[in-house]
Amino acid sequence: MSSVHYREIEGRSGGFYALLGALGVLILAGAGAGWYMDHHGHYVTGMSNRIVWGTPHVFAVFLIVAASGALNVASIASVFGRDLYKPLARLSGLLALTLLAGGLVVLVLDLGRPDRLIVAMTHYNFKSIFAWNIFLYTGFFAVVALYLWTLFERRMNGYSKRAGMLAFIWRLVLTTGTGSIFGFLVAREPYNSALLAPLFIVMSFSFGLAVFVLVLMAACRGSGRALGEMMLNRLANLLGVFVAAVLYFVVVYHLTNLYIARQHDVERFILLDGGVYTALFWIGQILVGSVVPLALLFGPASGGSHRTIAAAAVCVILGGLAQIYVLIIGGQAYPQLMFPDKEVTSSFFDGVVAAYAPSLPEMALGVGGVALALALTAVALKVLPFLPQSLADGDAESVGA
């Protein structure tokens, strides 16, 4: 451990300030969107009484899921003892914190009464998965902060394995909680499956690692650090395995539904005639999010170049957003089953596919959350030594010695 030298990024280049400036603009736009929605009410968004969770929730859930997944690299290093990844553990913990912060800010600003956040902190209904998640999220901050402390403070290094184990278990429970927000909804056919909890866990592995790889590459490039081929290829292989795992769970989920006659209409909606949701499923989630990254990472043409790996990670992220969009918004757009074998019509849009289009404020809020996470990461990299001086293969290998 002692042979790794960590150092802050310099953060004085024009590029760094340009990055912070651009992110700052996006954050301000997001904050403005939050204020606008709160001031006027949610009618200014694309959301309605049928699509109550919209684009902000897609971004928030993506960020929260990716946050727990970003901790993977640290877990592999500290819990499973893979020394190669140890130099990356700090960055992994940092991204877990910043991504979660970005996601939670989006979630809170989208509330009907964001000014009542304190109510959510003081009134609990312990039967609610949401209430558990409030503890899981705040606890995650504490546990990961503790873990980072054991990494940074030399005298605490001996405890990093135990802290890493605690953080690893915590993030598994946390993602189970996030998946169960949807999995426990008995009244909606597209959700209501215990499979959503493990699906969310593999999604977090995949999305979190994709974000981690991209941030690592950008940080190394921006700060002039070497990034070894072996290190990157290992990460890329891991990403490919996770992408395949997500695809596997998605296949099992849909096969199960296809077997159940009651669920045929839902499957027809998602897979066949759901319009934008069907397109997003096949083109976004399956093609861009799974097939293309797998081809880039494992295919014959994959040279393992930085560019290919970065492209694969970007595809995973785009596909992940599409997947969550189909799940959250498609799942609500599909009409709730109340009267089997009946055609249902009403003034309240019963029995029809609910219309929804993302509005500008919603997009701005969601993107603002992403920008906040990235800006926090950039600032933290400048303030504290999260990154090793070099990640060249020889330097990284010497860690184990």
């Binding site: 000014d115 009542r116 304190i118 109510v119 003081t122």
Partner: protein, 128 residues
């Protein structure tokens, strides 16, 4: 929220009371208009009402909402019945009973986001 708000409110009111003792402050900030338009006496002594009205409302709020206890004495409806202005029929507005004092103390009220600030007239709830 309300519990916290109550604490803040109490602190701010205490501070406002302290500031009141100096004449200078009154010159800068418009003094609240406290005009009692109806009824012989409030449900409690003025000093107690000034200090604790939010506690009473909070207590009654939870009793009514959660248990269906609709005692009128400390109900918000009952407050509005007596304290709404004769001209506007409201406890809000520039010289409104609630709003003028809350503006003076700089304490945000959340009540009338949902509750009507207007006197209903039919059940002039006599303080009990």
């Amino acid at each position: 929220m309300l519990r916290i708000a109550t604490g803040i409110m109490a602190a701010v009111l205490a501070a406002a009371g302290f500031a009141d003792s100096g004449e200078r402050r009154a010159g800068r900030v418009a003094m609240p208009v406290v005009k009692i338009e109806q009824g012989e006496a409030c449900v409690a002594a003025t000093e107690e009402m000034r200090r604790d009205h939010m506690k009473m409302l909070l207590h009654q709020r939870d009793r009514t909402m959660r248990q269906g206890l609709r005692e009128t004495r400390f109900s918000l409806k009952n407050c509005v019945e007596c304290h709404a202005s004769r001209e506007t029929g409201s406890v809000l507005g520039k010289d409104g009973f609630c709003s003028s004092c809350h503006a003076y103390a700089s304490v945000r009220m959340d009540c009338f986001e949902c509750h009507t600030p207007l006197r209903q007239g039919r059940t002039a709830g006599a303080p009990r």
